[in-house]
């Protein structure tokens, strides 16, 4: 009798596996960010588009460069550098000089990610590391916002965009004033972000305006509703932990509410706090970055609350109008510590025997706890 011996594969259980792979998850984050990117380009025109391309291109190149140096293969397949690039671009002013954008992107990958060993090992959100670097290096450029919905934004570059490396960028304000004269809408054109307007002029805008960001005037403002819809897509596909943004926004709200009730002329109202600046984008797309956040359930809550709290404190008492970036970076730094003190209680730990006090006899061999 001829015996067929097929090649059998020997491996350990479990023999089935079901999950989206890491690249699939990352790609879906990119999909979720695409509407935001399109809207951003629609708001600011070709300058924003070019900045986006430069930043994303630099992150991808840097990722490739560092992976090659480390001897790893095709790290671009996991799409995480693409996310870093998009998030970084979305946090920069649209008229940000391109060469500074490239530096931000390079630093994001180099100091934010590659130095720790690549995806999964980074302590901080890489995009925010890049953003923090240029915030410190180019404090003027990073706060020079141009208004959204400028006429001719698809035909003309914002002058500062094309600044030469190491040269002082052109001052956009005269250009904006000129534009305003040409189209006779001088009043509406302000290059202050709503948050800066509130901080330095005591102006707080209309909540609907903040949610939709459809009218011209306010700058540096992504539409809140669109951000939430994009995040809901990821949450619905179980690719984002909804508890993190909820904890961040909750933390910001419960910190802002007593301040506002205490003195409503000095402190912003809680809804304004939630809807302005980068808080929604930060809470939904940066604080929720899996790598930098704790994994334990209680840790996630603490991490989110800390970020929300610190954001409001920086905004209310600090010199900066915007605090989300530093709050998230601080949260990232605290994440390992938070996690170590919030380990979940394991089944059976801290439980005593019920009917007798004696220990089981030493002769008893462990019955295997596999399900029977």
């Amino acid at each position: 009798m001829k015996k067929v011996q097929p090649l059998v594969e020997i491996r350990t259980s479990p023999h089935i596996h079901h999950s989206h792979s890491v690249p699939q998850i990352m790609l879906n984050v990119v999909y979720a960010l695409l509407p935001l990117v399109l809207f951003w380009v629609f708001q600011y025109g070709i300058s924003a588009l070019l900045l986006l391309l430069v930043v994303v291109g630099t992150t991808l190149l840097s990722e490739r460069f560092f992976a090659r140096m480390a001897g790893r293969q095709s790290p671009l397949n996991d799409h995480s550098a693409l996310i870093t690039g998009i998030l970084l671009a979305l946090t920069l002013p649209p008229g940000f000089p391109l060469w500074m954008g490239a530096i931000a992107a390079f630093v994001a990958i180099a100091l934010g990610k590659a130095i720790f060993g690549g995806l999964g090992y980074n302590l901080f959100n890489p995009a925010l590391v890049g953003r923090a670097f240029v915030q410190a290096a180019f404090p003027v450029a990073i706060t020079s916002w141009t208004p959204a919905y400028l006429p001719g934004r698809f035909l003309e570059f914002i002058p500062s965009t094309l600044a030469l490396p190491l040269m002082r960028p052109a001052d956009s304000s005269t250009w904006i004033a000129e534009l305003g004269q040409r189209s006779e809408i001088t009043d509406a054109l302000t290059s202050a972000t709503p948050l800066a307007a509130w901080k330095f002029a005591g102006d707080s805008g209309d909540h609907w305006q903040l949610l939709l960001s459809l009218t011209s005037g306010a700058s540096g403002q992504m539409p809140g509703l669109l951000i939430i819809f994009c995040a809901l897509y990821l949450i619905a596909r179980n690719m984002m932990n909804w508890r993190i943004p909820v904890a961040v926004l909750g933390g910001a709200f419960i910190t802002a509410l007593p301040l506002y009730l205490y003195d409503s002329s000095r402190f912003a109202d809680p809804l304004f706090v939630l809807l302005t600046g980068g808080l929604l984008l930060g809470a939904l797309f940066m604080a929720s970055d899996m790598v930098g956040s704790p994994v334990t359930p209680r840790g996630i809550l603490i991490y989110g609350l800390v970020i929300g709290f610190v954001t409001v404190i920086i905004r209310s008492f600090g010199a900066l109008p915007e605090g989300v970036m530093y709050a998230i970076l601080l949260g990232n730094a605290l994440a390992p510590l938070i996690e170590s003190v919030t380990q979940p209680r394991v089944y059976g730990v801290g439980v005593t025997t019920l009917s007798a006090l004696k220990k089981p006899p030493a002769t008893a061999t462990t019955p295997e706890q596999r399900h029977e």
Binding site: V8, T12, H17, H18, G118, G120, R370
Partner: protein
């Protein structure tokens, strides 16, 4: 559909595709006797049995062929009428060769079991019953193969008030317990009463997942108005059948870490084990056959088969219409079973299923392993609330002692849920097995 939300369950866990529909509706069928039967002397947890037969000896089906070596061991019985070809080293499912009794079957024989007697279990003392169970060669049929008499022997300083009967069968593909609850509920009830008498339990709860409501109805009908035995319906979720999780769901008690169910007054047995005790004990018979599910994309005739122990899987597969090109043979369920190293491996007592996965099923496994991105899905899957992500990182750094001392590695029962959900495809369970075995080595 939403009624399932009412049923009790544990927190966390996973929902693998059940894949039970094809075999759940098929009645148990008897598989013919293989011309060659291989009975390994060690097919259970504990010491190997000692062979009682020699080459050339004629055997009658049901005759003891190996004796228990101590309390933590069980005897073996001849699964077939035939002649001993020898006691030799043969391949085992895990790879290394082990000693086994090889029998050439008399295919023309009547295969009647001659070795039996009568036992009035209601008059017998618990000690006598425990001895009888050992003599029957019973071990846990759910996968662990732990000798049943040891499990039922409660240490003197503990009292047990509840018998939890495990009819969850949470592993995908497996339907043997389901069919058994439908077709052999009388045997099961008798086995439960015997186990209650031995353990001193005042009540018995049969835990059944809510994807087997026909079995629940059949059991309730058989129980009638016996108030001591009840059926507890639990939600279908993996690993609902893990004994410590099931007993917590059904009794609200939690077994101490590293402890045993009897410490909280509970003893757990699987339905297949108790049904066979109910079937064998009153006739003083030995365990010579069991029910297994043969299923998977690689077989033409999936089903539940009553199969003589020691049947080589080659014979079982040919009978079930094996396509012959499958590359993965799993003994047990897909979440916790082991792959068979060769087609000459026999079916042993703890094997509840023989699954054949073909190449198509294999392709999805061929993803590369990527770094952990700390998504936390494994934490949401772990039924005992471990932190597999962190344990995995410690394992990568070979900090095995820290894993056990600070992160409760030894509470992991290797259900595989974390590996199942890992997007990075990290073999977490395998890491934990390695860590545990290295810790055991170091402890010596």
């Amino acid at each position: 559909m939403f009624t399932s939300l009412w049923h009790r369950t544990f927190s966390h866990g996973v929902h693998p595709p059940e894949e039970k529909a094809t075999t759940a509706a098929l009645p148990i069928r008897r598989m013919p006797f293989s011309p060659r039967i291989v009975v390994p002397l060690s097919q259970h947890f504990g010491a190997a049995a000692k062979a009682l037969v020699h080459k050339g000896q004629e055997l009658v089906r049901g005759e003891p062929i190996a004796a228990a070596d101590g309390f933590m061991s069980v005897p073996m019985h001849a699964p077939v009428t035939g002649i001993v070809e020898g006691v030799e080293l043969t391949p085992s499912a895990r790879g290394p060769k082990t000693e086994a009794i090889i029998i050439r079957s008399h295919l023309a024989a009547s295969q009647q079991v001659m070795y039996e007697g009568d036992l009035d279990w209601q008059q017998a003392t618990p000690e006598e019953l425990i001895w009888q169970i050992q003599q029957s060669g019973m071990v846990g049929l759910g996968g662990a193969g732990f000798p049943s008499h040891v499990k039922l022997k409660i240490p003197a300083e503990y009292t047990v008030d509840t018998l939890v009967v495990n009819g969850c069968e949470c592993e995908p593909y497996l339907t043997t317990d389901h069919r058994l609850m439908l077709e052999r509920s009388d045997d099961l009830l008798l086995g439960i009463r015997i186990a209650m008498r031995i353990s001193g339990a005042k009540r018995a709860i049969i835990g059944v997942e809510d994807n087997k409501m026909d079995a629940v109805a059949a059991l309730r009908q058989t129980i009638g108005n016996d108030k001591t035995i009840s059926v507890g319906v639990v939600r279908s979720k993996y690993p609902q059948g893990a004994e410590k999780l099931l007993l917590k769901v059904l009794t609200g008690r939690e077994v101490p870490s590293g402890g045993f169910p009897f410490q909280v007054g509970v003893v757990v047995n699987n339905v297949a084990t108790l049904a066979l005790i109910g079937n064998l004990l009153p006739r003083r018979r030995g365990l010579i056959e069991r029910i297994i599910t043969i299923a998977g994309p690689g077989v033409k005739k999936p089903g539940n088969y009553l199969i003589p122990l020691g049947t080589p899987i080659r014979f079982a597969l040919e009978h079930a219409g094996y396509f012959g090109d499958a590359s993965r043979l799993i003994l047990g369920g897909p979440m916790m079973g082991n792959t068979a190293a060769s087609l000459d491996v026999p079916i042993t007592k703890p094997v509840s299923a023989l699954l054949v996965f073909d190449k198509a099923a294999k392709a999805s496994e061929a993803q590369p392993i990527s770094p952990c991105i700390y998504c936390g899905r494994c934490l949401d899957a772990c039924p005992v609330h471990l932190n597999p992500a962190h344990l995995g990182r410690l394992a990568a750094k070979r900090q095995y002692a820290t894993m056990a001392n600070e992160f409760h590695l030894n509470d992991c029962f290797e259900c595989g849920s974390c590996s199942y959900v890992c997007p990075a495809n990290i073999p977490l369970v395998q890491y934990f097995r390695i860590a545990k075995s290295i810790n055991r080595e170091r402890a010596r």
